[in-house]
C-alpha cells in the first residue's frame, strides 16, 4: 500500500493483494506480464497466483463457482476487476486449511463427512459462501444457509447434503 502511495504518477500503478496470507504485487498495464484493466480477479487468481480451486463457470456472476472471500465477504471473483482490488485480502478455497496443523477447516471436514458434493465443481464456492455465513452468524439456521447459498449453481443437486454439512458446523441450538 505504502509503495502504491509513494509512486510517481508516470510509473506503472501497482496492485497489491494478499491471497491466503501471501502478498502479491501486480503491475497494471497491457503487457502480458501486467494486469490489464479488464482482467478479473478470478483470472488473476487462476492464472497469475496459480490457484485453480477457484472455478470459472458462467463468467458473468450468475453461478457462484468463482466465489472467493474478499476481506471476509463472499464475492463472485469473475465480476471483480483485479485493478480494483488493491489492498484487499483474498481467501480462496486453498486458504481454508490450517497452515500450521494441516487440518481441514471444520466446514471442509464436514463436507467430507457428509459427502456434500457430487462432481465437486461448485464445492469451493459452496464452502466459501458457507464460511462467510458462519463467520458472520455462527448460529446460522437452515434458512440462513439456503439464503447464503442461493447464488450457487449446482446441477448435481448437492444442496441437501450441503445444508446438512453446514448445519453440522453451525452452533444453532434447536
Amino acid at each position: 500500500m505504502s509503495d502504491f502511495n509513494n509512486k510517481k504518477s508516470d510509473l506503472p500503478v501497482t496492485v497489491n493483494i494478499t491471497v491466503n496470507g501471501e502478498g502479491f504485487s501486480f503491475e497494471a498495464g497491457e503487457r502480458k506480464d501486467q494486469v490489464s484493466s479488464s482482467e478479473t480477479l478470478a483470472d488473476t487468481i487462476r492464472n497469475r497466483v496459480g490457484l485453480t480451486g477457484t472455478k470459472i463457470s458462467c463468467n458473468h456472476g450468475a453461478c457462484g463457482a468463482c466465489t472467493v472471500l474478499m476481506n471476509g465477504k463472499p464475492v463472485n471473483s469473475c465480476m471483480v476487476l483485479t485493478v480494483e482490488c488493491d489492498g484487499s485480502s483474498i481467501t480462496t478455497i486453498e486458504g481454508l486449511k490450517n497452515k500450521d496443523t494441516g487440518a481441514l477447516d471444520p466446514l471442509q471436514q464436514s463436507f467430507v463427512d457428509h459427502t456434500a458434493f457430487q462432481c465437486g465443481f461448485c464445492t469451493p464456492g459452496m464452502i466459501l459462501n458457507a464460511k462467510a455465513l458462519l463467520d458472520e452468524k455462527p448460529g446460522a439456521t437452515p434458512d440462513d444457509v439456503k439464503e447464503a447459498l442461493s447464488g450457487m449453481f449446482c446441477r448435481c443437486i448437492s444442496h441437501y447434503q450441503v445444508i446438512d454439512a453446514v448445519m453440522a458446523v453451525s452452533k444453532e441450538k434447536d
Binding site: 463457470s57 459427502t115 446441477r155
Partner: protein, 763 residues
C-alpha cells in the same frame, strides 16, 4: 456363509473428498502446459446458409495468432448417423455452427482475431419444427438426407437395432379395448442439463515417427475415455488417439458428445504443432453444445377397464437438431424402456428422427426413455381418466415382473429375470400418502382459494444396467496393496471410490491400500464407461472379476508353500491362510518382493435385469398467476444392495436438476424462430433451481438381493430424473382440471389453458 463386507454398503469417505473440498481436484481447465495455445471458435450468425467466402487475412495478422482454420484448411473428418456431419463444413446448419477455428498465444489475441473474421453467407431458409421439417417443401439440411428424415437404425447396436416398436396386431388390440384415446403430447422444451463445468479439452498433436501414425493426446472432461476414443478414431481415421481423463465437473451423459470441441482443438494443435486448450464459454455450452432430444408423440392407445393396454399406435417424432450421433440409440433404448413400464402385446409405434436448424441433441440421462414417457404417460393418463383407473394401480400392474420380457436395443427379445418391484412401488405410495391425496383424474388434491394442489406419479426402468463390455485389471503387490486399472473417471457419482471399495472387499484388504490407475486409454483396458446406470453391475462385475482373478492366481502361487490346495485358501489383510487352519498363513510378500500378480476381469452384456424408480410429486398451482410450486417429492426404488449410502442419496436428490423434474416446471431452451438464436444462453435467463426453492424429498430404498454379482446390486443413478417430469405434468393437470400437453408448465402456458377453460365454461 457370506462374510460381512467391510466397505461396500458402508459410508466410506470418497477417495477424492479432500481433493474436492480443498480445491486440489484438477478439472481440465485447471491443467496447464508450456506453450499452451488458446483455441476459440468463430460461430455462424445464420441458422442455415452456405458460406460463400471467409476472409481471415486480418485475423492472421494479429500478433500471437498461430492458426486460423476454415473448412478449406482441414481434412474431411465426418461423423454422425449417417456420417454426413463434417467437423467444419462450407454450410452452416444452426445459429452458432462453427465457421472458423483460431489458436492464439493469449485469450485476448484469439478474441481480437475472432472479431476480424469476415464471412459472406448465402442464406437458406431454416426449419425448426420437427413435423414441418419432414414436408417435401421444407429445406433439406443435408443433400444426402431427404426431407430431413434420418435412418432410424444405428449399426452400433447391431444389424437388428430396435428402431421402431412394432409387434402384435394393433387392429385386433384396439377392437378389444374399452376405450381408445388419440392425442398429441410433446416434450420439446429441449431442456439442457448444463453441468457446472463447461465442455472443454486440451489437445496435443504429435507428428508421425518411426513408422507410427500421427497421434493426438487429449485431456478430456467426461466419464467415457474409451468410448470417447472410439468416436474420435472413427472420425480421425488413421490418427492414433490417446485420451486422458480428469475430474469431470458434471456430465449427465452430455459430455460424451464432445467430439466437436475435441476435433477443433486437435485440428488447431495439428496446424500449430503446440498444445491447444479450448474451453467453451457458458453461452457456447448452452447454445452450441448438445441438448436433450425433442420428443412429440402423435398416437392412440387402447385400454381395458382393468388397466390392460391393448394397443399403442402412432408416430414418435424425435427432433435431433442439426445432426445425430446418438439419437438413434436413444430411440432404441426408449422403445425398450416403454415395454418395461407398459405391458402391451400390440405396438405400432413408428419413430421419425428428424434434423432441424438448431444445435444438436446428444446424450442426456433418461436416454430416450424419459423423452418417450414424457409423452406416452400423459396419453395413457387420458385413457385411465376415461376408465377411472388410479394411475398407481395402472403402473403397479404394468411394470415389469419376472418372466415378462421386452425387445431391447439390439432387437432381441429378453426375458426379465430380476426382482419384483411391487414392494418399492407400494412403499413409495405409502410414504407419499397417495391414497389420501388421490381424488381422481383432473381433480385437485386440495383447494385453498386460488391455490390448488395436485398429485402425480411416474415410473421408469432400464435394462441397460447390464449394457456393453467392461474390462478391468487388478494388480496386487507384495506389500498387501492393490491397484485397480479401469478406464472410468470420476464425474460425480462417487463410482471410482465404489469400485475401489469392491476391490478392497474382494481381497479383504484395507480401503487405503487400494489405488486406481490414472484414467488413460493407453494404460487401462477397455471400458465403456458409466452410462445407463451400468456402473454398479457392468463395471462392478469386471472389477470384481479382476480382483477375484488376482486373488485366485495368488492362491495358486502360495498353495504349494502352505502345503494346501488353492481352493482351501482365503486371504485377509495381506495374509493368505488355510481356511480350516488359519494359523497356517503366509504374507502376500511371499509371492516375491520383486513380483506382482495381475488379475483380469471382463463383463459381458446382460439385458435381463432392470432397475426401477418411482417418483410421486405434489404441486401447488396458483390459478391466478399460473405459478406452480413443487411441494413434495417421494422417490422409491429397490437397488439390490446399496453400495454407497451417501452417493445413492445424492443421485436420488438429483432428480430435480440436470433436466429432470425441473424440465417439467421451468427449465427450457428458448429458440427464437425468427433468427434461430437461443435467447436464454446464459445462467440468468436459463431458469434453474436455487437452494431457496428446495422441496422436501424423501427417498425409499429397498435392498432385495438381485442376481447380478457378488454384491447383488444394480445401479439406479441415471434414471433418477426420468419418472419426475411426466409426474409433474399429471399433478398439474389434476390441480388445474385441464390436460396439459406440453412442457414446461410455465405461468404463461398455464394461464392460457386456465383462461381457455374458464371461457369455455362461461359459454
Amino acid at each position: 456363509m457370506a462374510r460381512e463386507h467391510r466397505y461396500v454398503g458402508k459410508n466410506v469417505i470418497r477417495r477424492d473428498a479432500e481433493d474436492i473440498v480443498t480445491g486440489r481436484a484438477k478439472y481440465v481447465n485447471d491443467l496447464n502446459f508450456p506453450d499452451l495455445l488458446i483455441g476459440k471458435v468463430f460461430r455462424s450468425s445464420e441458422p442455415h446458409a452456405v458460406i460463400k467466402s471467409i476472409d481471415k487475412t486480418a485475423a492472421l495478422k494479429v500478433p500471437g495468432v498461430k492458426a486460423v482454420l476454415t473448412w478449406e484448411d482441414v481434412p474431411d473428418w465426418k461423423t454422425g448417423v449417417p456420417e454426413v456431419t463434417r467437423v467444419l463444413d462450407k454450410k452452416v446448419r444452426f445459429t452458432g455452427d462453427a465457421v472458423a477455428l483460431i489458436a492464439a498465444e493469449t485469450e485476448e489475441a484469439a478474441d481480437e482475431a475472432l472479431s476480424l473474421i469476415k464471412v459472406e453467407y448465402e442464406k437458406l431458409p431454416p426449419v425448426y419444427d420437427v413435423e414441418e421439417a419432414l414436408k417435401p417443401e421444407s429445406p433439406d439440411l443435408y443433400d444426402e438426407i431427404k426431407n430431413n428424415l434420418l435412418p432410424s437404425v444405428d449399426p452400433f447396436f447391431g444389424p437388428d437395432c430396435l428402431s421402431d416398436l412394432i409387434m402384435g396386431d394393433v387392429e385386433s388390440g384396439f377392437s378389444e379395448a374399452d376405450v381408445i384415446v388419440k392425442d398429441t403430447f410433446s416434450y420439446e422444451n429441449i431442456p439442457n442439463p448444463i453441468p457446472a463445468e463447461q465442455p472443454g479439452v486440451i489437445a496435443k498433436w504429435e507428428e508421425s515417427s518411426g513408422g507410427a501414425p500421427e497421434s493426438v493426446t487429449l485431456w478430456v472432461s467426461n466419464q467415457f475415455p474409451h468410448l470417447n476414443r472410439m468416436i474420435l478414431r472413427s472420425i480421425m481415421r488413421k490418427v492414433d488417439v490417446r485420451i486422458i481423463g480428469n475430474h469431470c465437473g458434471g456430465s449427465f451423459g452430455t459430455k460424451l458428445m464432445s467430439w466437436q470441441v475435441q476435433c477443433y482443438a486437435a485440428l488447431l494443435s495439428r496446424a500449430a504443432l503446440k498444445p491447444v486448450k479450448m474451453i467453451y464459454s457458458k453461452e457456447e455450452h448452452i447454445a452450441a453444445f448438445v441438448l436433450r432430444p425433442g420428443s412429440r408423440l402423435r398416437a392412440k392407445v387402447g385400454m381395458k377397464k382393468d388397466g390392460t393396454v391393448t394397443a399403442v399406435s402412432g408416430d414418435w417424432f424425435v427432433d435431433t437438431g442439426y445432426y445425430s450421433k446418438t439419437t438413434q440409440l436413444q430411440v432404441a433404448v426408449g422403445c425398450g424402456e416403454a415395454q418395461i413400464a407398459v405391458k402391451s402385446k400390440n405396438w405400432n409405434l413408428k419413430t421419425n428422427i428428424v434434423c432441424t436448424n438448431r444445435n444438436a441433441s446428444g446424450i442426456v440421462r433418461g436416454f430416450g426413455g424419459q423423452e418417450l414417457k414424457c409423452c406416452l404417460f400423459p396419453l395413457l393418463s387420458r385413457a385411465m381418466e376415461k376408465l377411472d383407473i388410479n394411475p398407481f394401480d395402472f403402473f403397479k400392474k404394468n411394470f415389469i415382473r419376472p418372466g415378462d420380457g421386452y425387445y431391447w436395443r439390439d432387437g432381441v427379445w429378453y426375458t426379465y429375470r430380476g426382482i419384483d418391484f411391487t414392494k418399492a412401488i407400494d412403499a413409495g405410495a405409502e410414504k407419499f400418502g397417495w391414497n389420501e391425496k388421490w381424488k381422481g383424474w383432473l381433480k385437485p388434491a386440495s383447494v385453498n382459494g386460488v391455490l390448488r394442489t395436485g398429485v402425480g406419479m411416474g415410473i421408469h426402468g432400464n435394462a441397460d444396467v447390464g449394457e456393453d463390455v467392461s474390462e478391468a485389471y487388478v494388480r496386487i503387490h507384495p506389500n498387501g496393496g492393490a491397484v485397480l486399472f479401469s478406464g472410468v473417471s470420476e464425474h460425480g457419482t462417487g463410482q471410482v471410490s465404489n469400485f475401489m471399495k469392491m476391490v478392497a472387499d474382494v481381497l479383504r484388504i484395507p480401503f487405503e491400500k487400494v489405488t486406481k490407475s490414472p484414467t488413460d486409454s493407453l494404460v487401462n483396458p477397455n471400458e465403456f464407461g458409466p452410462a445407463g446406470s451400468r456402473g454398479t453391475y457392468a463395471i462392478g462385475s469386471a472389477v470384481i472379476n479382476a480382483a477375484e482373478d488376482a486373488r485366485n492366481k495368488l492362491f495358486e502361487e502360495l498353495a504349494p508353500k502352505l502345503d494346501a490346495k488353492p481352493q482351501e485358501l482365503d486371504t485377509e489383510d495381506g495374509f493368505v491362510f488355510v481356511k480350516d487352519d488359519p494359523d497356517r498363513k503366509l504374507h502376500w510378500s511371499k509371492m516375491g518382493y520383486d513380483r506382482s500378480i495381475t488379475g483380469f476381469g471382463v463383463f459381458e452384456p446382460d439385458f435381463t435385469l432392470s432397475n426401477c424408480m418411482i417418483s410421486f410429486v405434489e404441486v401447488e398451482v396458483n390459478m391466478e398467476t399460473g405459478q406452480t410450486r413443487l411441494l413434495k417429492v417421494v422417490n422409491s426404488t429397490d437397488v439390490g444392495m446399496v453400495i454407497d449410502p451417501p452417493g445413492l442419496k445424492g443421485q436420488l436428490y438429483s432428480c430435480l436438476g440436470s433436466s429432470g423434474i425441473d424440465s417439467a416446471l421451468f427449465e427450457e431452451t428458448v429458440l427464437d424462430p425468427y433468427t434461430g438464436h437461443i435467447l436464454n444462453a446464459n445462467l440468468i435467463d436459463y431458469k434453474w433451481r436455487t437452494s431457496l426453492e428446495l422441496p422436501p424429498i424423501e427417498n425409499v430404498v429397498f435392498e432385495t438381493p438381485m442376481d447380478s454379482h457378488c454384491f447383488h446390486a444394480v445401479g439406479v443413478g441415471e434414471i433418477a430424473t426420468s419418472p419426475g417430469p411426466s409426474a409433474v405434468l399429471m399433478a398439474v393437470s389434476n390441480a388445474t382440471g385441464s390436460w396439459i400437453h406440453e412442457y414446461p408448465v410455465t405461468p404463461e402456458r398455464l394461464l392460457k389453458i386456465i383462461s381457455e377453460k374458464t371461457q369455455k365454461q362461461d359459454r
